[in-house]
């Protein structure tokens, strides 16, 4: 089931009033949600727990300000804090390549044919593609998913700005993840073609 953010929101007045038991329930539930999200964003031990801990401390410490400033959307506010922590950790772990000035049209795309590969669309090809996709880091998979497969608003394709907003990362970072994912897929599939 989904984390019950509505219930967590109801706990806030108790936490603010000093109810330690309510704080523990709030903390454990939010930590679990944060930990899962940190792992989905590609953090591994111990960075995942560090990020979840740091974000939870910030959320609890600023809970009074949340009520005043936000009024609604506890999960949006909490995940914004978490994403800032995660982004900082990811940035520290791996400097990003600047692709801001690269036109989107000149970047690689998932639906472009791979040079030297025979297009067939067979079940075996689909299986190979899935395997190659599955080997990508989680964050790259998420970017590709949002770019090409998660069109739930009738749009032809999501922009990097929209993807960045969705994942809580800068537009330029979404571009970088997309670029790396495409390059990696090309390499994986080309190698598979050679060995087939």
């Amino acid at each position: 089931m989904k984390t019950d953010w509505k219930h967590l929101q109801e706990l806030i007045p108790k936490v603010l009033a000093g109810d330690r038991e309510a704080a523990e329930e709030f903390g454990l539930t939010v930590f679990a949600a944060f930990l899962a999200h940190a792992r989905r964003r590609g953090l591994r031990e111990p960075d995942d727990e560090d990020a979840a801990s740091e974000a939870l401390v910030k959320v609890l410490a600023n809970l009074g300000k949340y009520q005043v400033r936000e009024g609604a959307g506890l999960n949006s506010w909490a995940y914004r804090i978490l994403n800032n922590v995660i982004n900082r950790k990811l940035k520290a772990a791996r400097p990003m390549v600047a692709l801001d000035d690269t036109p989107e049209a000149s970047l690689g795309r998932l639906d472009e044919p791979i040079e030297g590969a025979e297009p067939s669309g067979s079940a075996a090809d689909t299986s190979r593609l899935h395997a190659a996709l599955g080997a990508l880091p989680s964050i790259q998979q998420q970017v590709l998913h949002l770019k090409y497969f998660a069109d739930d608003r009738g749009e032809s394709e999501r922009t990097f700005a929209a993807i960045g907003q969705q994942l809580g990362i800068p537009e330029s970072t979404a571009r970088v993840y997309h670029h790396r994912a495409i390059a990696r897929l090309r390499q994986s599939l080309t190698e598979l073609d050679k060995t087939a």
Binding site: T3, L28, A32, A36, A61
Partner: protein, 184 residues
């Protein structure tokens, strides 16, 4: 994509109560659970102390005594918070006293001006090895007026120090300003 996070069990169906449900549904490892409790202790402690600081406002007294008093009123142990902030000690004569105090005070939402007066008292007491004069505790109307009055008292006491001790007080002030990102 929705930001909601999926967990493994329906917490609302757990008969043992919401806390147990949260524990189970989170499916956290023992280490992760410990990390969650530690973070909760720290975050909740900061929240409680910040609320007390907001209620108490400025008080013309040494910083360490003030912090101990608000922590006691909030029923919070300061040690996990200090440890989280990587503050090993809060000794006025320690060369990093100002930096450590600034980190702690910022966390609790205190102003740099309040901190300067209060840590000034701490350091002054240590340098002179004596208690602050009773004048430091007087109330003179508004909080702003009280801060101003205490600042004047502090400055008067600093002016009477030896050049070496005045330099120690200046270092404290610089560290507080740096801690709050203010120009020196």
């Amino acid at each position: 994509m929705n930001n909601d996070v999926h967990v493994e069990e329906d917490a609302s169906s757990n008969p043992d109560g919401p806390l147990e449900a949260a524990l189970e549904s989170a499916a956290l490892s023992p280490d992760a659970r410990r990390a969650a409790r530690d973070a909760t202790d720290v975050g909740f402690g900061i929240l409680m102390i910040s609320q007390e600081v907001e209620k108490a406002g400025f008080a013309g007294m040494p910083f360490r005594r003030y912090i101990d008093a608000v922590a006691s009123r909030a029923k919070v142990d300061l040690r996990p918070i200090m440890s989280w902030l990587k503050i090993e000690k809060l000794e006025p004569l320690d060369p990093d006293f100002g930096a450590a105090a600034a980190e702690l005070a910022k966390t609790f939402g205190m102003s740099a001006r309040q901190l300067w007066v209060q840590t000034g008292y701490d350091l002054l007491m240590s340098l002179r090895a004596q208690s602050p004069a009773p004048v430091l505790y007087r109330m003179v109307g508004s909080r702003s007026a009280e801060v101003e009055s205490c600042e004047r008292d502090l400055q008067g006491a600093i002016d009477a120090l030896s050049p070496g001790d005045r330099e120690v007080m200046s270092r404290l002030r610089r560290q507080i300003e740096e801690g709050y990102g203010q120009p020196g």
